[in-house]
């Protein structure tokens, strides 16, 4: 039995809209992945603790209220601190295009805004995980 790809979908900060995150979670499930949904109002500490305990390959951070850089930065720092920086961090939600480069230089491997084809996200995750293992 091949190892399944495990993804943590998290909404850091004070966003109240989880429709998008849940949609992506279902899309990834339908693509054969095991998706752990941790809910809203997660602190970076909670996200990293869950990611390590659940031994996920990918963390998907979904934000709509502008705090994407701060949260991505904190999550990535914590992952490094805990020796878990092989976990791929992705960003999604409402993120201004001009912030994509900044996110990537922080260590976010991919940014997927509204309208991104779900096929693109699925393929990206599958190839990121393969190259990690």
């Amino acid at each position: 039995m091949a190892k399944r790809i495990r993804v943590l979908m998290a909404k850091p900060g004070l966003d109240g809209h989880e429709t998008g995150a849940k949609l992506i979670a279902r899309v990834l499930r339908d693509a054969g992945m095991e998706v752990i949904y941790t809910g809203m109002r997660q602190s970076p500490e909670m996200i990293v603790a869950a990611a390590i305990d659940e031994d996920v390959d990918v963390i998907g951070l979904s934000t709509l209220s502008g705090s994407h850089k701060e949260h991505a930065s904190r999550v990535i720092d914590l992952l490094k601190q805990k020796g878990a920086d092989n976990i791929v961090v992705l960003s999604g939600g409402v993120i201004p295009k001009e912030d994509y480069a900044a996110l990537q230089s922080l260590g976010v491997k991919g940014v997927f805004g509204p309208g991104t084809s779900t096929r693109v996200i699925i393929d990206f995750i599958k190839s990121s995980v393969v190259s990690n293992n």
């Binding site: 190892k3 095991e34 998706v35 305990d53 031994d55 805990k82």
Partner: protein, 316 residues
């Protein structure tokens, strides 16, 4: 094994990675289980099951809070079904246990059934044992109870708690006996809803019909888990059942039976794999397969001939 040593010295990351490895049924799993064995101290497992929407995750959350107050370290396994079509799963139970996310004394692991027919992943026992070796006093296993799932959870758990909601009252007569039979404790949750007392009375009546003097008398409790009502009662009943199992010797007996089942199950898996390998090397299997698929040979004669070939090979 290095990962096992790291886990034993307290690394949660190592614990999480070990669990992933034994989930995968890889040959490593056997090595890991060998290394773990001397460190198992027979942790206690509570199974929580019931139809979807009954409030199982909330009960797990509140029960964990009580256990933590008692100084117990808790491991939680939250099971959700794997889609038979996509092989993927949406694992959303831990969302109800947020108060424990940053507590070092609680570990939550979401697991998908991965094709297991009984509702519990086949690797559940391995995961429970690893959590035991890590140092958890109590393991809570939460799973959806519909269909034949009941059997698996009752085998895995020392105390099985079945959670129903008042709306189940209408269908109680037609409800599968399984859920009632496996319950060590029956809970009617969301008891503020209409029909709660009626359901509780019906359940008590049905249980009385199956009473056996020497064994445990399954209590029926009313709770409103979301408001933390009735949880302390549930906790006390669990403690009573825990004492009952130990005092009556059933705890030891159950675990002896479990080890036996795990031994035989693992032998069977190995035998299946070996035979499959033998057949594939044989080459004849392909011919039989084609004949059977085309309808030229009936499956039963074909199987008998294959069995004979295997027996001959083994007795050579």
């Amino acid at each position: 094994m290095e990962l096992v040593d790291r886990m034993l010295s307290g690394s949660r990351q190592a614990l999480a990675q070990l669990i992933s490895q034994v989930e995968s049924d890889l040959p490593q799993a056997a090595e890991i289980m060998k290394d773990i064995h001397p460190h198992i101290h027979s942790t206690y497992t509570i199974g929580i099951t019931g139809p979807p929407g009954a409030g199982k995750s909330t009960v797990v959350d509140k029960l964990t809070a009580q256990l933590r107050q008692d100084g117990k370290r808790v491991g939680i396994i939250a099971v959700d079904p794997t889609s038979p079509f996509s092989q993927g799963a949406f694992l959303g139970d831990r969302i109800r246990m947020q108060q424990h996310y940053l507590d070092d004394g609680v570990y939550i692991r979401s697991m998908a059934t991965r094709g297991s027919l009984g509702g519990l992943p086949t690797s559940t026992w391995r995961v429970i044992k690893i959590m035991d070796a890590f140092g958890f006093d109590i393991i809570l296993v939460e799973t959806v109870g519909v269909g034949q799932v009941e059997v698996d959870i009752a085998e895995a758990a020392d105390t099985t708690i079945v959670i129903l909601v008042p709306e189940a009252g209408d269908t109680i007569q037609t409800m599968k006996a399984g859920l009632l039979e496996i319950a060590d404790i029956l809970v009617v949750n969301k008891a503020d809803r209409e029909g709660a007392d009626h359901l509780a009375t019906q359940l008590q009546g049905m249980l009385r019909m199956n009473e056996d003097k020497a064994s445990w008398k399954t209590p029926v409790l009313l709770t409103q888990a979301a408001h933390n009502i009735g949880i302390d009662q549930l906790y006390r009943r669990f403690q009573e059942h825990h004492r009952f199992l130990h005092d009556s010797g059933r705890f030891a007996q159950r675990h002896s039976e479990q080890r036996r089942a795990e031994f035989i199950g693992t032998i069977e898996l190995g035998v299946k794999a070996q035979i499959k390998e033998m057949l594939e090397k044989q080459g004849d299997l392909k011919n039989y397969m084609e004949a059977v698929e085309k309808g030229e040979l009936d499956p039963y004669s074909a199987a008998m001939q294959v069995h004979l070939a295997i027996r001959n090979k083994l007795t050579k």
